[in-house]
């Protein structure tokens, strides 16, 4: 069977120091995802979730008539629900299991990842959210191409979207297959097919309405489950963090070291590069940006981010408590470990099921088999909800940006565009199942990192510069965006994760783990320089069109308004 390590890495999105991580994972049995016995409570709870979400999808399909319904849920999602959906997109199974697993194995270092994922949100709020809502309709390409040439900019945005979606989706599918095999006792292939088919149904039939509701329900379940677990831990220690930490330090093989930074950040350049990718990548993730069009107006978009930041921060604090709780509850108990013939076991590497399992075992330790089933089912639901959001973003890029604007030049009936989006969702889903199958044995750890790097180096600079800088022209945005995109992909390919681990070359050509520190400035400078050099008549017209865009982005006057049902 296959290593579960990719999930943990994907979870952590990218190890600050991948080598260090691999060293953590060097134990002989670690990460072996053995098929477990069939987990009946988990399957029952999951089937209830699936039936419920399919009923919602049916209702959503009945209520989905226009393109606005399909892409943006008719702009009818309330700010708090949208915040739950945004938080849901972020609280993947990988961040839940992976980060609590990192806290379990390394203590403090787990916190570094959580913080990296969180700090992008304030920036999204301050610079992006309201302007995006005021200018756009369904996708961020609507905004980037507001006054620029739609053919060029939408093609670029669609490519950026599809690359981000593809890598993110592969990492999720592979993680899903391995996790479900572990939690439910289902074969890898069945697991991947079930995830793929359900996400196709949600997206193709229910569009954004169903996708949002699946995400809201899952986020609610996950927050409730994680809260109960963290409460159980805190109650045990009489709500004293000191007692919890002391107990963890006493049983953890690394002792006091778990309370301070470990070896993750040995190379500050990689660390800062990763930090930039996490922070600004969030502001360029197409499935997240789409969520700002599902609310009524800029005020609602603004409130969504505020609540979402709170929910995500709260969730990461829970995973921290869960990780420390798992240390205290699980490490002294041999029944959670593979015990050697001499009765000894390694408290980090011999955990049954591998490095992603602390949260799952802790559920069993504090709540018995029914709670274990609940948490397993929630983890499955989490994967489903995240892949559905990604698929919708990919399908929208194909139908709304590429087909409707680039191929049909804006002359396409709304119903036909929606039909093409549904077909795209089907095709993307089938491709995802196939890639999930193909990549089963591959190390996909770098893929989430690459997705964030491309989002930060292509989508984000093009979006920000087109909204904020009068001088941006199509020529500049196109060349700068392509520079950011190409350099991010090239540097990841030449980095250790791909060049050495996947291709088997002896040494990496690009010495750092994440390219954002270099590819992001390249994109911004490219946009600036080639806009400056643009002396064309079209460029002059585009600069002149900035005022109208600026007024609308700052005030919402003339914006497409959603309607509350």
């Amino acid at each position: 069977m296959k290593s579960l390590r990719p999930l943990a890495l994907a979870a952590a999105a990218m190890a600050l120091d991948a080598g260090q991580f691999v060293a953590h994972a060097a134990g002989p049995d670690l990460g072996t995802a053995e098929k477990q016995g069939v987990n009946v409570p988990a399957i029952v709870i999951f089937v209830i979730f699936v039936l419920g979400t399919l009923a919602i999808t049916y209702k959503a399909a009945m209520a989905t008539r226009s393109a606005s319904d399909f892409y943006a849920a008719g702009g009818s999602v309330s700010p708090f629900r949208n915040a739950l959906a945004i938080a849901g997109d972020y609280m993947s199974a990988a961040s839940f299991l992976g980060i609590s697993g990192l806290v379990f194995s390394s203590g403090f270092d787990g916190l570094i990842y959580s913080i990296g994922f969180l700090v992008g949100w304030p920036v999204v709020l301050f610079l992006i959210a309201e302007r995006l809502r005021n200018l756009g309709k369904y996708t961020f390409a609507d905004v980037a191409s507001f006054r620029l040439d739609p053919t060029a900019i939408r093609s670029l945005s669609a490519v950026g979207t599809l690359i981000v979606v593809a890598f993110y989706l592969i990492a999720q599918m592979v993680g899903a297959g391995q996790l479900i095999q572990l939690l439910f006792g289902l074969d890898y292939l069945y697991a991947v097919v079930i995830v793929g088919l359900l996400m196709i149904v949600y997206v193709a039939f229910g569009g954004m309405k169903a996708t949002t509701w699946v995400q809201i329900i899952k986020a609610g379940l996950l927050l409730v489950g994680a809260t109960l677990m963290a409460l159980a831990v805190l109650v045990h220690f009489g709500f004293s963090p000191n007692a919890m930490f002391a107990s963890a330090v006493a049983v953890h093989p690394k002792g006091e070291a778990i309370m301070a930074p470990g070896g993750f950040v040995s190379d500050p350049v990689s660390a800062i590069s990763l930090g930039l990718a996490l922070m600004f990548g969030t502001a360029g993730l197409p499935h997240i940006l789409m969520r700002f069009f599902t609310v009524a107006d800029a005020q609602a978009a603004r409130k969504s981010v505020f609540y979402a930041t709170g929910l995500i921060g709260y969730f990461y604090i829970l995973t921290f408590v869960i990780g420390f709780g798992a240390i205290s509850f699980l490490m002294p108990d041999p029944s959670y470990f593979k015990v050697g013939a001499d009765g000894h076991y390694n408290k980090i590497t011999d955990l049954l099921g591998g490095s992603n399992m602390p949260a799952v075992h802790l559920a069993n330790a504090v709540g018995g088999s029914v709670f274990l089933g609940f948490i397993s089912a929630v983890a499955f639901a989490t994967i489903l909800a995240v892949v559905a959001g990604l698929t919708l973003a990919g399908a929208s890029a194909v139908s709304h940006d590429f087909y409707a604007e680039v191929i049909a030049r804006g002359r396409v009936p709304e119903q036909k565009e929606v039909r093409i989006s549904k077909i795209s969702a089907l095709v993307i889903g089938l491709i995802a199942i196939y890639l999930g199958y193909v990549f089963q044995k591959q190390n996909v750890a770098f893929m989430v990192g690459l997705a964030f790097a491309v989002a930060a180096s292509c989508n984000f600079p093009v979006l920000l510069m087109s909204m904020m800088w009068r001088g941006t022209t199509t020529q500049g945005a196109l060349i700068g965006g392509v520079l950011g995109l190409a350099s991010a992909v090239a540097m990841v390919v030449l980095s250790k994760a791909v060049w050495v681990t996947t291709f088997g070359h002896p040494a990496a050509i690009f010495p750092y783990d994440n390219p954002a520190l270099f590819s992001m400035p390249l994109a911004f400078v490219g946009i600036w320089l080639f806009s400056r050099l643009d002396k064309s008549r079209r460029g002059a017209l585009e600069r002149a069109a900035f005022d109208a865009q600026y007024v609308r982005s700052e005030t919402g006057i003339g914006a497409v308004s959603g309607h509350i049902h």
Partner: protein, 102 residues
Amino acid sequence: MEDASVQRIMRDPHFRELVRRRSEFAWVLSAIMLAVYLGFILLVAFAHNLMAIKIGGGETSVGILIGLAVILLAFVLTGIYVSQANSRFDDLTRDLKEGLER
């Protein structure tokens, strides 16, 4: 929107004030978040001993408190922005729109 009304809004003192104040505010908050986050990463990388100091005789370390403080700060900064936007900036926007209707 027509060119004439766009130019009218661009010259409107309410609009200029709204945009100037809001973007100053947003960039300052963004800079604070970026600086705090990069500072945190640099502390993690270079100030291991500081981060490992125990607080008040318990096990809780400086590093964990700083980490939690960064999470809290992210939430507080978004809260500050939203409260300002809901009052000051929305008022300015309303004034602007009312002024235009007259």
